[in-house]
Amino acid sequence: MERETGAREGLKGWLHPGKIGKFGIERLAWLLMRLTGLGLLAYFIGHIYETSHILDGKAVWDKSLEMTQTTEGHLFLALVIGMCVFHTGNGIRLLIAQMGYGIGKAERPDYPYKPQSINMKGKACIYATLGMAALAMWYGMAVMFT
């Protein structure tokens, strides 16, 4: 029996920046989808906890709102906005692609074997989603910091 050690890369296979260079923008989108999904989940739980303070009266509620009225708070909220936009936009792309649309049609492969499922439409969607997320963050910060 061969040893199982080294049989899986583990987290390195997910987070190593070299992976994105080697496997392209789709791999970055995949990683960001996971991170933003988990980030949003964490924010969602925190958000429920924060807003539950409304039951403790106005003073406590106002105090808890102050948490995000700082520079760090604003930056954190800007990050949440970015995560929201990216996760939603990329989520819609994935829903469509995973239903089998926009990934090309099976055909007789020929050299140099360009995979059809990795195409310009998908890449354009990913870049557009990243751009929209950046724009939303910028707009959010413009509102919060004035």
Binding site: G13, W14, K22, G24
Partner: protein, 258 residues
Amino acid sequence: MVTIHPKLSNELSQTVVSSTKSVKLKIKRSNPNVNSDEKFDEFVVPIEKWTTVLDSLLDVKSYLDHSVGIRYSCRQASCGSCGMKINGKLGLACFTKISELDSDTVTVEPMDNYPVVRDLVVNFDRMINNHKKIMPYVIREDSEIDAESGVREFLQSPKNVEKYIQFSNCIKCGLCNSACPTMAMDKSFVGPQALAQAYRYIADDRDKGKNKRLKIIDESHGIWRCHFAGSCSQVCPKGVDPAMGIQLLRGYLLGIRD
């Protein structure tokens, strides 16, 4: 230590045609059955415009160090034996020309996400088992052996061949499974190679095993663990595009396709 190929050393250059160019070939060495040591051995080898990574590895084995462990057979991207990491990128050694790598150093390592047997050879048990699991053959109630006429064939139209021929190009080299980020974490994931083959047989209209296969892949470590990172398709040397096959396969389970 760097070992220099005899064709490149001065004493011999009069007797052998000396190559104008050479590269440093760094080979990752390990033998997990003996100990956990890992090291890179370096060799300087001559190259021509047409020299493949496999050619150079065989050159090393012939002239410099015959103990280097590699697996190969066809030398023409047909047998699926020689998948490895070449300068960090997954590819077939026999299908990668050194001149096209545009580098003076070529580093070869075994594929990720497989147990190493020795040096560049990895263990394919998991991939082969998953491949078998999806029943990679035409499933029928009736038989090609006919009582009256002897042997007959299950007919297939040229039009229908086009629906799956792409996926039947798979040579089981395992590069897709090595690239897949789910494979990096999930020890039970069925993997892109087997999923693409499930699609290949389901899309074949001679086959009647669709429901059986869909049941096999519709489980917790099955098709739903694919998140369409697309890395499998980026590395496939045969144009199989496993990611396409997997998304098309989902269509059956989602009720979009029948």
